[in-house]
Amino acid sequence: MSATAQALPTEIQSTDVMISMTDVHKWFGQFHVLKNINLSVHKGERIVVCGPSGSGKSTMIRCINRLEEHQRGKIVVDGIELTRDLKNIELVRREVGMVFQHFNLFPHLTVLENLTLAPVWVRKMPKKEAEDAAMHYLERVRIPEQADKYPGQLSGGQQQRVAIARSLCMNPKVMLFDEPTSALDPEMIKEVLDVMIELARSGMTMICVTHEMGFARTVANRVLFMDRGEIIEQNEPEAFFNNPQSERTKLFLSQILHH
C-alpha cells in the first residue's frame, strides 16, 4: 500500500486561508444534508475527509466549487465569496481543480484535447503553449504516450490520471478529489494514489474525500470525520487514527479498518 511512502510533514507554514466555510447549511428538499459546516483550509494544507456513505462528504466539497449550491452560511474561496453571481463562480472554478469518481473525461476529444480545452478556451492560452503544458503534466502523471488516444481506449487508472492532469493544466490553487479511487479496479488504485502523493509533495492545497486510510496517514495534515451532515471530529492523522475521540468515529474506524 502507498502508506509505505514516507509520511509528509503535518505542520504547515502558511497562514493564508484558502477556503473558508462558515456556518454552511444545505438541504436536498426536506433532507438536511449539511449542518453547520465550519472549515477553514490554509494554503498548502492537505485534508482528507472520511465518513460513512451519505454523510455529506461529497456534497461538502462540491459546494466549494459550487457544483452544489449551499442555502445558508458563507463560503469564500481564495478571497472570492460564492454567491449566485455566475462571474464569481466561474472565477472560483478556474482556481479550483476537481477530480471525480467517474473521471468525467470528454469522450469525443483525445487525451491531449481534453487537457488543452480549458486552458485555451477559459484562460485564452495559445494552443501551442497549452499543448506543451499538457505534455508536461501528462509526463508528471506518467502517461505521455497516451496523448493522442481517446479516453475510451484507456484503463480506469489511466483515465483518472488524465483527469488529474486535466485539472492541473488549469494551474489550480486548490485540488478537490471526490472519491478518486472508488470506481477503480484494485490493481489501479496505487498508480492514482502515487500521482496524488507526488502532487501533495509539490505543495498543492488538497481536499480528498476518500476511503484510502493509508493515503490519509501518508499525506494528510488533517483528517476530517463527517457523519449525518456534520463534521464530528478533525485531527492530525496520527491522533485521529490512534486516539479517536467520538464514539461515531471509533465505530466508523473499527468498521473500515478491521474487516
Binding site: 466561474e90 479550483v96 476537481m98 468525467n104 470528454f106 481517446y150 485539472s167
Partner: protein
C-alpha cells in the same frame, strides 16, 4: 493391463489438427446461404416468396423502363418539322423523351432560358463549397466556411434574383428541381441552428426562455406542415405593417424553416438528454461558461448521438418540400406532374413519377450514406479501437 502410452498427460501439440480448415457449413457461400436465407423453415418460406415476388415484379419493370422504353426523338422532331408528343413513344414502354423535352422546365421552372447559367453557377459553387467542407482531406476549411456561410448566400441571392447589372428574375418564375433544392437547402441550413437553440431553450432553467421554446415547438409540431405553409402565406403579412409585401417564396421559407426547426429541436433534445451529468460537471469544474460548455462539450456529443435521427428529419423535410405545391409554387414534383397534364403528353404520369422518384432517391440515399460515414468517423466513444 491397460496401455497408457496413448493417454495424453499434458498439453499436446498436433500440428496436423491446426491445419484442418473449417467445414463447409461454417464458412463460404453455402454457410452464408444457410445462415442468411434458409436458417429455419419459416425463413426458407420467406426466401422463396421473396424470390417469387422479385421474379414477378422486376423483369416487367426492366422491360418497361429500359428495353421497351423510347430514348430518342423521331426523325421529324430532330429535323425540327414538329414538336414531340406522347405518340412518338412506344405504347408499352417508358416515354423518356418526355423528360428530355421538358428537362429545362423540370430543372429550372419558368426561369428564363438565357439566364439559367446563373442557377447552374450557384449550384456548382454550392456543391463545390459543400464538398470542400464534407471531404476531410481538402484544406482551407475556415476560408471555405466563410465562403459557404457568408459570401455564397449573398452571391447566390444576387445571381438568382438579378439586379446590379443582371436581368431581374422574380422568384415567381423559380420552379422545378432548383426550387426544391433552394427550399430544402435554405430551410435545413437555417433550421438546424434554430432547432439547436430551441432544444437548448427547452432545457433552459430560465422560465421565460423555457416557456417560449416549449410553446413554439409544441405549437408547430401540433399542426400539419400544410397548415404552417398556409399560415405563413396568409397570416405572416397580417403581422406586418400594412402595405409591406413579402416575397411569397420568403414566406414559405420562413414557415418551412420553423416547422423543420421544431422537429429538429426535439431530436436534438433527445441527444442532449443522453449526455450524463458528469460531462456538465466536468466542464463546469474547469471554469467553462454555459455557451463554451455547450459548444465544446455537450453539443458535439449530443449531435453525434442524434445524427441518424437528424438525417431522418432532414430527409423527411426534403420530401416535404413538395407540399409547397399547395400554395401555388411549382416545385420539382409539381412541375413534372403539370408537364404530364400537357395535351401533347397525356399518359406520361407514371414516367414522370418514376423520374421524380429516382432523383429524390439519389438525393436521400446520398445523404444517408454520408451520415453513416460521419457516424463512423465520429465514433470515438466508449469503444476501444
Amino acid at each position: 493391463m491397460m496401455d497408457t502410452s496413448n493417454v495424453p498427460t499434458g498439453p499436446r501439440q498436433n500440428p496436423e489438427l491446426e491445419e484442418i480448415s473449417p467445414p463447409i457449413t461454417v464458412v463460404g457461400p453455402v454457410a452464408w446461404l444457410r445462415t442468411n436465407l434458409f436458417s429455419s423453415p419459416f425463413n426458407t418460406l420467406l426466401t422463396i416468396l421473396a424470390v417469387l415476388f422479385l421474379a414477378w415484379a422486376v423483369p416487367p419493370f426492366i422491360r418497361w423502363a429500359f428495353i421497351d422504353a423510347t430514348w430518342t426523338f423521331p426523325r421529324e422532331v430532330l429535323d425540327g418539322a414538329r414538336g414531340p408528343n406522347r405518340g412518338d413513344c412506344a405504347p408499352d414502354g417508358a416515354c423518356w423523351i418526355f423528360i428530355q423535352a421538358r428537362i429545362g422546365q423540370f430543372l429550372f421552372g419558368f426561369y428564363p432560358a438565357d439566364e439559367r447559367w446563373r442557377v447552374v453557377l450557384v449550384f456548382i459553387l454550392t456543391f463545390g463549397a459543400v464538398a470542400g467542407m464534407l471531404i476531410e482531406r481538402i484544406p482551407f476549411k475556415k476560408q471555405n466556411a466563410l465562403f459557404l456561410f457568408v459570401i455564397l448566400p449573398i452571391l447566390s441571392l444576387w445571381l438568382l434574383l438579378g439586379g446590379l447589372g443582371l436581368e431581374v428574375v422574380s422568384s415567381r418564375l423559380w420552379g422545378g428541381f432548383m426550387l426544391t433544392l433552394i427550399i430544402a437547402c435554405v430551410g435545413i441550413v437555417l433550421a438546424l441552428p434554430l432547432g439547436i437553440l430551441l432544444a437548448l431553450g427547452r432545457r433552459s432553467e430560465l422560465p421565460v426562455v423555457h416557456l417560449l421554446s416549449v410553446m413554439l415547438i409544441e405549437f408547430v409540431r401540433g399542426v400539419p406542415l400544410i397548415t404552417v405553409l398556409f399560415m405563413a402565406n396568409v397570416m405572416l403579412p397580417l403581422f406586418l405593417p400594412p402595405g409591406t409585401t413579402i416575397d411569397p417564396l420568403l414566406r414559405i421559407l420562413v414557415g418551412f424553416t420553423v416547422f423543420t426547426a421544431a422537429y429538429l429541436a426535439e431530436v436534438v433534445r433527445g441527444g442532449l438528454q443522453a449526455i450524463g451529468r458528469g460531462q456538465y460537471e466536468g466542464a463546469a469544474s474547469l471554469g467553462l461558461g454555459y455557451w463554451s460548455m455547450m459548444r465544446l462539450i455537450i453539443l458535439p456529443q449530443a449531435l453525434r448521438i442524434s445524427i441518424p435521427a437528424i438525417v431522418n428529419t432532414i430527409n423527411g423535410a426534403f420530401m416535404d418540400t413538395t407540399l409547397v405545391a399547395v400554395v401555388g409554387l411549382y416545385d420539382f414534383l409539381n412541375i413534372v406532374r403539370t408537364g404530364s397534364r400537357d395535351a401533347n403528353w397525356i399518359g406520361t404520369e407514371i414516367d414522370g413519377f418514376v423520374f421524380c422518384a429516382a432523383i429524390y432517391w439519389i438525393c436521400c440515399y446520398g445523404m444517408s450514406r454520408y451520415s453513416i460515414s460521419l457516424e463512423r468517423k465520429l465514433d470515438t466513444g466508449h469503444k476501444k479501437r
